[in-house]
Subunit: 458 residues, 2 copies
């Protein structure tokens, strides 16, 4: 193997050129630790191909010699999926940076894997469009990485996750064969949806080298409403009702009394309403035609609404958003929290919110649990302070409770290496067997990111 | 095999009961011919399971005995994908008719495979929602069949094809194992997207027995605009520009002078504008807030617009729609047309529209070619009169031209058995090899709809 590896690296140098097979410890370091500093690894080398052909040639070498490979984009993942934790070769896609002009008739753009989400957004906006995915790591996260993880972000409610933006793909299989369907066909029922399958596959099936991305119209009117309720269940009913009545919603956020109190105390912000309430729903609608009447009519229909504030001007909109967005910062002042990213189905959301603090207290009696998130798609951020941010007992207790309530143990971050010990809880043996069968079909030697997503071999 | 088959049928009777293993020629007949009467087959029997467990038991029997199976829903497909053309067993999913109540908090509903699209729509509408897929065969087409074919219909532009409505699935593998993920998790990054993979797989990977479907808000205001242009290219530019500026479009339709003339002559309808124009684009926007201002502003921005009519009242909207919708009926008066359902990327649409009549004339000099369709997603209906509706020379010439222009040879109907001879033109060897590898991984004995989608074995 060591000799094979040396041979692979020597031949990789011929393919990508000496500067792009990096073994210098200092240069390698940023590729072997994730940006949060939680996940570390080691690698024999970082290989940085500059073309799809070079990716194909390098993978063919690795496959022939059975050298495992971890593909890496902007290294902004949150579950250690792009870090070589078992001394895999790192294949960085960062040099694949070509970004075509916007195709204005199609409302699409073709981008190579290493282009950042921020670059796609800037290009789209300059042409009067926008890109449907937005997330905090936009200036580092790449097209390839967000496809591998099916990244969500703040506008999933409106535009869906990354999978829904991908209208074409170019990808290299483990053995170096190239799949390419980049023509941007909005309707194309001529075979299996390989592009969709690659989204969220965490680099285990093929390495995405380029994508054809769908752009979205840029709404010109935005309105925000903050709704207060005296019962959590009334707030959850309002979530469904608002989705039914307002077709231009781009956010439905949720928080509760405890989190709001902390935010207002921490930052000396006045409370939003004269009275205190138990649950809050923040709605944002945006459209080419002012959506305020629809939002106001929706609020009028909510029998259990305790109070409401509506804002159309940017400053006032931001003030309402601040109650929700300042949660993260306010919680951080209590010490680094243990964060979990889960989805609950609406049917069990209420039970989850009511009981998860006790579930956490069962394993960490001194912990404090904060709950907020994207109610529109059932995505709850569980933030636990007073425990180690990597405390596996808390992770285990919360994820088991999520599974018991038929939720997802990873809403948008993925499985990676971090959540791998729990994936068998949320997926049946039949599902995992099918995952493995698909993995073997596309990567029979198992060289592509072999230590993520699927449970360790039984 | 015959003895094995007799044994399978005898044991299937034990599973589903004698009335549900049908061999009587008269009862079998409607299952062996498609609704258009173009595709015929024969079958040893039609098996009609009433539960997912029965589907699983029957498939396990068939798999053990290597008896090939054609799954069938409402039998409304257009490419012979549900007809037993090689004497396969027919597995009808029509008895799986359970439809849950609408989950109002989630905006979702769970439906078994045999529920019709019309039934889903009715239930959704009664609860104040709607279903994103609508098509002419709504009262026969089923949830299972529309998933297997990734059915599109008239609102793909707004809501996407069936794949985008599926938020959970239950499916039975060839060997009888059941996959079930019906909890309706809008965000769930915990493995491969099997639900999306099954959409459009034409029953070749697993048999869908139920689905969790996303519902959509029901817009209360609708506006239609008919735009006229003197150059086809100006019309195509307007398609992109309208998508950029109006975020609530639910249709962008296209037709040209020849088709409009035929419609107006055939039905004695006055022309829409005083002058004749070369190309027409019909836009329909619908939203909770009146989208007329956005549509009007968009029309104002189109420098090359020759004329425009805007309608908000139902009668006047229908009158504008009639110019587009009457195309099919008007063309039928010339004799049954040869119909092709293709997608072109915007980059080559103009070339296709200009040259395809000559391409057709090259193989059928007396033919007349009509072009219209869903311009918003590049979907062109090519209707050719004066030739046999199944004339393979016309099919071959048009599909080859589509492939040359990087389009799709099947926008929404699928490959089935009808387009199987052409699928190798539009998919590379690498793609087809991956399709086959996935097929083998999920259905190693090849019993599930073995004669559709993939090219016949080389």
């Amino acid at each position: 193997m060591a000799k094979d590896l040396d041979d692979v690296l020597a031949r990789a140098v011929e393919v990508v050129g000496p500067p792009n097979v990096v073994t210098d410890a200092e240069v390698v370091a940023p590729y072997t630790t994730d940006w949060t500093g939680r996940f570390h690894g080691t690698t024999p080398a970082v290989v940085r191909p500059g073309t799809t052909g070079e990716v194909a040639a390098v993978l063919a070498l690795c496959n022939a010699a059975r050298v495992p490979v971890v593909p890496q984009g902007g290294n902004t993942g949150l579950v250690g999926g792009g870090v070589p934790r078992a001394h895999e070769l790192v294949l960085s896609l960062q040099r694949l940076r070509h970004l075509d002009a916007v195709d204005a008739r199609a409302g699409q753009v073709t981008a190579q894997a290493g282009v950042t989400i921020g670059a796609v957004q800037s290009l789209a906006r300059a042409a009067g469009w926008d890109y449907g995915v937005d997330l905090a790591a936009r200036d580092s996260a790449t097209v390839g990485g967000t496809i591998a993880t099916n990244a969500g972000g703040v506008r999933v409610l409106r535009y869906g996750p990354t999978r829904r933006q991908v209208v074409g793909y170019e990808a290299v299989l483990a053995d170096g064969r190239v799949l390419r369907r980049l023509d941007g066909l909005e309707k194309d029922n001529t075979g299996y949806d390989l592009g969709g399958l690659l989204c969220g596959s965490e680099g285990t099936l093929a390495i995405v080298t380029a994508a054809r991305l769908r752009l979205v119209a840029r709404p010109s009117h935005t309105v925000v409403a903050l709704l207060a309720f005296d019962r959590v269940d009334d707030a959850l009913d309002a979530v469904g009702e608002s989705r039914r009545c307002v077709d231009t919603l781009q956010a439905i956020e949720f928080f509760v009394r405890g989190g709001l109190d902390l935010v207002c105390e921490t930052f000396s912000i006045p409370k939003p309403f004269a009275a205190d309430h138990d649950a809050y729903v923040l709605l944002e609608a945006a459209a080419a035609t002012d959506p305020t009447p629809a939002l106001a009519a929706c609020a009028d229909r909510l029998a259990d609404l305790a109070d409401v504030a509506v804002a159309t001007e940017p400053e006032r909109r931001e003030a309402l958003w601040r109650y929700r967005e300042a949660h993260t910062e306010a919680i951080n002042t209590l010490g680094p929290p243990h964060k979990l990213d889960v989805t609950l189905p609406p049917a069990t959301m209420s039970t989850f919110l009511a009981r998860v603090p006790d579930v956490v207290a069962g394993v960490a009696p001194r912990a404090r649990t904060f709950l907020f998130g994207h109610a529109g798609d059932g995505n709850v951020h569980v933030n636990v302070t007073g425990v180690d941010p990597d405390d596996d007992r808390v992770t285990d207790a919360v994820l088991r409770f999520v599974v018991e309530l038929h939720g997802s143990i990873s809403a948008e971050h993925g499985i990676g290496t971090a959540k791998r010990p729990w994936v068998h809880l949320t997926r049946t043996r039949e599902e995992l067997d099918v995952f493995r069968a698909i993995k073997r079909a596309l990567d029979p030697r198992g060289i592509l990111n072999p230590n993520v997503l699927l449970p360790a071999d039984r």
